[in-house]
Symmetry: C2
Subunit: 190 residues, 2 copies
């Protein structure tokens, strides 16, 4: 990819991310984005069809990176509900978030973060459902599979939201513990 293209693209992403941490997405105008990115108007539209597509591509870039880093790790084959494993994928994800890789927290903590949470959640759901042995050890028998996957993903997202809103005062290990109790993972609470 052309260096000029790359720089423009990154400048737009950066400006957009900054603005997102400051205000609601509906209040952000293309004019503001290009002003902060120091980019021409026509240039913006050469890269992104609309503001929504910009957001979409930003989400994909961000979350794909996070989830790939989990899937590619060797421990992804461990038992998903083994909360005692120090490298469970959930702990891994919480640690990623704590380090604020890619400034992802700026997006999740801003007021209008629902769409980002949606992307986060659907990526999570895919990850969870691809995991073997996902169900047996949870205390969630009797629920339809998709209900259970949705519930686990939602609970993770809500846990992240709570964590971020409370200024992340818990360690990744602690918050993983909360999550495990919430989804009623066997061996989590006793």
């Amino acid at each position: 990819m052309d260096r000029r293209q790359r720089k423009t693209r990154e400048a737009i992403f950066k400006a957009f991310t900054e603005l997102l941490s400051e205000k609601n997405i509906g209040q952000i105008t293309v004019g503001e984005i290009i002003e902060r990115a120091d980019v021409g108007r026509a240039t913006f539209y050469a890269h992104f069809e609309t503001k929504d597509y910009l957001q979409k591509e930003l989400c994909e870039e961000l979350f794909c990176h996070v989830f790939d880093s989990v899937s590619d790790s060797p421990h992804c084959h461990r038992h998903i509900f083994d909360c005692n494993a120090p490298d469970s994928i959930y702990l891994h994800l919480f640690r990623h978030l704590e380090k604020n890789d890619n400034n992802i927290l700026d997006l999740l903590s801003c007021e209008n973060n629902d769409i980002f949470m949606h992307y986060f959640k659907s990526g999570l759901a895919k990850l969870i459902s691809s995991q073997p042995d996902t169900y047996e050890n949870s205390g969630l028998q009797g629920l339809p599979d998709d209900f259970r996957i949705n519930h686990i993903a939602s609970t993770f997202v809500e846990t992240v939201r709570w964590w971020v809103e409370n200024k992340m005062q818990q360690l990744p290990e602690e918050i993983t513990g909360y999550f495990m109790i919430a989804i009623n993972a066997k061996g989590a609470a006793e």
Copy 2:
């Protein structure tokens, strides 16, 4: 309140609700609303400062009604986790939703329903936290109170979302059962 005012207000609410069930809120313009409500432009702005305020007032009108109907019922003093009580407040809520009171489902099932879900969730959280004996019987010991309340409210909202997306094929009793298992209510799964 003046009859004219009431009629105008209701016409706007109705038009807005219809449009919300058809498209994303960001794509709905004031022009469309007043056209469908058959109301003058200045009249709209005499009633609602902006589109966001319209949405806010719609939410309050809708959810306050639902939650009030729960709080005012005599069974609201029963034990919240007694899932054997056929009139648990959760079952009561699911039944309300099934009847589609106030066309609330049109809002919860449309694509951009996040803000409505937010209102729904915060109303729920208030209801849950006002409930005595909310915690003792759940399998969620070891969690901070606000985490637990948030988790229960989120799980309810996500259960509703799942139910609606799956065309509400389950009976209110069944979906209440799912919810009780998900929040690990004692006596729900065994």
